[in-house]
């Protein structure tokens, strides 16, 4: 597994912030596009890089009975991806007010919950 995404860009940090801000560190592509206000191709290039780096895995949602909308593919941070993403955000965007991402004591911003 690689050490992480080689090129760190603002869209990449945006995507990582969105994934970190969710409860289970997973989100589907459309929601990431909406949250980051980035174009689809930009978001998917970043998700490709994160997957290649082993920071993110992609999986289809299980079909629900009576579901009318098409199935969505979710992108979830791996454990190493969470640690790497947190370190990267802390390093590159230290001054931003951000939610306290729950990884237990010792992780996240702003101390304990």
């Amino acid at each position: 597994m690689a050490d992480g995404p080689v090129r760190v860009t603002q869209p990449l940090l945006d995507v990582l912030e969105v994934l970190l801000s969710t409860e289970d560190f997973r989100q589907h592509g459309w929601a990431i596009m909406k949250a980051t206000k980035r174009a689809g191709p930009t978001v998917y290039r970043i998700l490709d890089r994160l997957r290649e780096a082993g920071w993110v895995i992609a999986e289809w949602e299980a079909p629900q009975p009576g579901q009318t909308t098409p199935p969505r593919r979710f992108y979830q941070l791996t454990p190493s991806g969470r640690v790497g993403a947190l370190a990267l955000i802390e390093e590159r965007r230290p001054s931003r007010q951000r939610p306290r991402w729950g990884l237990g004591p010792g992780f996240g911003f702003g101390g304990a919950r």
């Binding site: 990449l12 459309w30 689809g40 930009t42 289809w60 909308t69 098409p70 969505r72």
Partner: protein, 214 residues
Amino acid sequence: MSTRTRVVVTVAALTAVTWWAVTTKNVVGPVVVGLLINEFGELSPWLARHLVNWAAYRWTSDPRDAADLSREWQGIIDQRPGKLFKLFTAVGFASSAGAGAARPALSRVWQSRTVRRVALGLAAAGALAYGINRIPTGSFDPISVAAIMNVLLFVMGGTATLMTIIGGIRYTTSQGDQNVITSAKNTILYAVVGLVVSILAYALVNFVIAQFAS
């Protein structure tokens, strides 16, 4: 007849009919335009689905990944409100995938020093020819400083414009690569600086010549 030929023939026929409907002066024209707009509205979601499928298979060389992406993007297209919005989203994916697929080939071509030299040479020659052509007939004097400056200004202007365009293309196709972005910004900056310097030099020389002439 292959699918590609059919699409080309259909688009050509629709363009011809649209052109006729827009330019015709009888009452049939507006009716046909209305029908075409309605038909295009119905056609655009279908077109959007095909476009994202095409884009997915150019996005990645892995067929399984491409099939997943195609399915996922079609879901995104379905969630987009409005028929034209779906099409715009699909065009965004298709243009990015197409640019990504074409980028290595274009990059290889541009990395060839010969190609770069030929392109810059052609641009300089074109600007030179244009500059000479702009000089009023009978006023061109080979030893006239003003005439030479006039030609040089067009050469500089043409080259600066070309470099700005190249910088712009590199910036838009950088896909977030900071090195490419920095390089593209420098290209644009230096092109603009070169242009400003050449204009200032032109103004200065003209000012000096005017002083001597008076």
